[in-house]
Amino acid sequence: MRRKFLGLLGFGSGVFAGSVLYRRSNGRRRDRVDVYFDDGSMVSFVEGSPEAEKLLRVARDVLGPAAL
């Protein structure tokens, strides 16, 4: 009885840890645009900012037909 309980507890913990890791790995990645300039500087526009939304809209338009 005790072994069965521990087995179920271990299985449940494993499923929980796996779901947390999965959500973290997928949820953390946000759409972004990295722009590099000839003076060596780089700017990163992250999803949500007006600059990123403008550039990401163009990028999504480009990815659509290119994937065909």
Binding site: R29, V35, A59, V62
Partner: protein, 132 residues
Amino acid sequence: MDAAQALADLTEISSQIESAVLFDEQGAVLGATLADGSAAQALARGAAELLAEAAAFRSSDAAVTQLEASTHEGSVFVVRDGSRRIAATTGPSPTVGLVFYDLKSALRGTEESAPATPKPRPRKKKEPVDEA
């Protein structure tokens, strides 16, 4: 190396690149991996728009040399060198540094073979006239 050869080499060495297009500063397509001409034109036009929009966000004179737009569907890369540009699309989470390196190599390869202004032909030397 011509544009078609450079793009063929690019897709051979980089398995991450799904499509690529080489174009000039006017947006004219010089070569593409896409069989559909309108899709190649759309990729070149979008890449040129990305460069222009990104440059507009910067107040200084610094020019955009390269950019990566990363989305959940995939990424768009654009690299500029002189008058030529190359754009490529990849799947999600590509190896960014490697893709940029391959695109720059392809661009450099085509620029080395760009036709240079023809040199003036050397004048023929006059034969010495033997007056004796």
